[in-house]
Amino acid sequence: MKTILTALRMLVVLTILTGILYPLVVTLAAQVVFPVQANGSLQIHDDAVVGSSLIGQEMNSDPRYFWSRPSVIGYNPLPSSGSNLGPTNATLAQVVEERAVAFREAHNLAEDAVIPTDMLFASGSGLDPHISPVAAQLQVARVAAARGLTVEQVNALVDSAIEAPQIGLLGQPRVNVLLLNLALDGLQ
């Protein structure tokens, strides 16, 4: 009985410490020091939230925009999810083939053209904000034609959007699709 009482008191004290004080201290510090990041890195244009720079968006095959990676949740974040399909899944093999055909057709690529795998496979979160630089470069001609811009103009935009590995060491070179598309809208 005495042990149960001790356990109960201990749980109350540790709950106050780790369940209330700790998250409150972190929240307070985060909101003061990093207000943008702490609130979801929202992108606000003309007083309206157009998204978060960390969360990808469905481009619904709009030819005027760069497209994001395939997503099994259509970039609807509630809740996030990947496909969880395995390496010998026949359905996935078929879907990948269809995505390859569709991507080649939309971009006038040869039938044997190699497509970067990030445009063939869905991300784990379904919300991946990035594509590989190659995947962006393959889309330049389509975007330029749809917008009446020159390929050079769009190429320059893509080049400046490529993020290098962090601190020169970590991660992969990549392009944030939403930020690139916002820059594209900003051109006109």
Binding site: L5, L11, V26, S80, A90, G124, L170
Partner: protein, 563 residues
């Protein structure tokens, strides 16, 4: 794999090796009750805690007293998390208006966080209120980790002390592990994560109108504080459904690197703490080396497999379930670390890894979560195998086995066997049950050998308190919620209680000085033997099951077969 990616691996393991003695020395001071640089701030809080709870900090417990306090505290924690979920509909801090959680799911989730498993049958952003996440899950993230650290510190005292009776005070170990180790590290990591883009607020989801005019609801919440302890405490339970694959949970390569480091940091450092407390850092480094060799061997095989071509899809470098910002190398490194360390968080979907990469992740778990393992749990699990190795080596040369000058006798071996057998039996029996019942089979998302792997992975993960998943499996059914919950109880207390019993029987023994016949446990030969014993026990137990899942799937994939 590019040279830059290889360099990331080197940086990762290099930093881990450098930090091990630094944090290890600090933790040794904590367990010995000595002053540290944090004492001026934290000592008053600690004293007030003892006063409020009526704990007499200088009164130590024998192993039974220690075990009773631990079990009572954990069971109580289970009921609190269970109750919070049933009541969250009427509690505050629920801006999204989420309803009460279904009972078997609440049982599963409460068990999961209390046992440091953090298996998640639910999607965090659409199931649990901020109140449940903070007052329930985040608290258990701390205290379940602190429980693991407490158990290993008790076991170490059992090995280090001579002809004594007590193995420490559970309440003191719990409080000191939480206040001096977990809280300060979490505070720092949480703020660094926020700087990278992990959110920390109490807002309701924000509605955005995307460039193509679609409404996108962006989830919010106090994520950073929970993610920091999720990694440091080898808990692994995500704030969001896809865990650290979610850009809000793990936004940049740097946040990814730090979270991966946090997964192994404390388990690795504890090997050094152990060495210091028994008076030979070398003993600690031998265990560290055995762990590192197994981790890096598994990681290498996983990388080779994942970079190879998949004949079913006709491409190499499959990115299904992976994020562009991490790429293949960082996804696989995380996959190896999280399964070795009983963490269970993911930054890519394990289910979409190649059969061998997923299979090695599964093997890491099945070996008993001892390759660094959970905080505390990894080291006490490894010490069980150390005792087995000493015993088997003793049998081979026909001498009474001894470890650190103490005789290993029947009782220790009985307890060690129990700690190895209970979780293994739970994995195999429950997998078998699920594989022959409609309730078990109907939850699979993939068919063929991959479907069996989903089931095997689930019970491996639950019984060994890992928490990661081949997440295609729909585990949110009463069948899986109950069975997996029971597996977690068995895997947690079926190991902790035998370990404390060993601590209790070792602490009373006297030590004899080493003789020429003593088998040295601080050299490369011992490390090799230890690895061999672990692999033999693991292989004998699980090879047949692994053959039915990942191994046959690998052979069929190589032949281009799909299901």
């Amino acid at each position: 794999m590019t040279p830059l990616e290889l360099l990331q691996l080197v940086a990762y393991f290099g930093l881990l090796i450098v930090l091990t003695p630094l944090l290890g020395g600090f933790m040794a001071r904590i367990f010995a009750g000595k002053r540290t640089f944090l004492s001026p701030v934290l000592r008053p809080v600690e004293v007030i805690t003892y006063r409020l709870t009526g704990v007499k900090a200088d009164e130590e417990q024998d192993w039974r007293g220690y075990a009773v306090a631990l079990v009572v505290f954990n069971v109580l924690g289970f009921f609190v998390v269970f109750g919070l979920q049933l009541a969250q509909g009427v509690l505050p801090l629920n801006p999204a208006g989420l309803p009460t959680v279904e009972a078997t799911l609440a049982f599963n989730t409460a068990t999961s966080f209390m046992t440091n498993t953090n298996w998640q049958s639910y999607a965090g952003e659409t199931t649990l209120s901020y109140a449940t996440q903070m007052l329930g899950l985040a608290v258990q993230n701390f205290v379940s980790a602190a429980t693991g650290i407490a158990v290993v510190s008790a076991l170490i005292r059992g090995l280090a002390r001579r002809t004594a009776h007590t193995i420490g005070n559970f309440w003191v170990d719990l409080v000191r592990s939480t206040m001096y180790i977990l809280l300060p590290l979490s505070l720092i990591l949480a703020l660094v994560l926020v700087s990278q883009g992990v959110m920390q607020n109490f807002s309701a989801p924000v509605e955005a109108t995307t460039l193509t005019g679609v409404t996108q609801a962006l989830p919010q919440g106090p994520a950073a504080s929970q993610i920091a302890i999720k990694q440091l405490g080898t808990n692994g339970g995500g704030f969001f459904n896809v865990n650290s694959a979610h850009p809000f949970e793990n936004p940049t390569p740097l946040s990814n690197f730090l979270q991966m480091l946090a997964i192994l940091l404390i388990p690795a450092a504890l090997t050094n703490t152990y060495g210091r407390m028994i008076g030979s850092q070398r003993q600690g480094w031998v265990i560290f080396a055995a762990m590192l060799i197994m981790l890096i061997t598994g990681l290498s095989l996983m990388l080779v497999s994942e970079y190879s071509s998949n004949p079913v899809f006709g491409v190499a470098g499959v990115l299904e379930g992976k994020e562009v910002r991490f790429g293949i190398t960082n996804s696989i490194l995380w996959g190896a670390a999280t399964t070795a360390a009983s963490n269970g968080s993911v930054n890519a979907m394990q289910s979409s890894f190649t059969p061998l990469a997923g299979g090695i992740a599964m093997l890491n778990i099945l070996l008993g979560e001892i390759i660094f393992g959970g905080v505390g749990a990894g080291l006490y699990g490894m010490l069980i195998f150390v005792i087995m190795t000493v015993f088997i080596a003793g049998l081979m040369v026909g001498r009474t086995p001894e470890y650190l000058g103490k005789k290993i006798e029947a009782r220790e071996i009985q307890m060690a066997i129990l700690a190895i057998l209970l979780p293994s039996a739970a994995v195999l029996l429950m997998t078998a049950l699920a594989s022959v019942t409609e309730a078990g089979l109907s939850s699979r998302a993939n068919v063929g050998p991959h479907g069996f792997s989903e089931i095997l992975y689930a019970f491996a993960s639950a019984s060994n308190n890992n928490g990661s998943a081949f997440a295609g499996l729909n585990a949110n059914t009463p069948f899986y919620n109950l069975l997996l919950g029971i597996a977690m109880w068995v895997g947690r207390f079926g190991v902790i209680i035998p370990v404390l019993a060993i601590a209790g029987s070792m602490v009373v023994k006297k030590t004899a000085p080493p003789s020429p016949g003593t088998f040295p446990t601080d050299g490369a030969v011992f490390a090799g033997l230890l690895i061999a014993i672990i692999l033999i026990v693991g292989a004998l137990t699980f090879f047949p099951a692994l053959t039915l899942g990942p191994i046959v799937e690998h052979l069929l994939m190589a032949a281009g077969r799909s299901f």
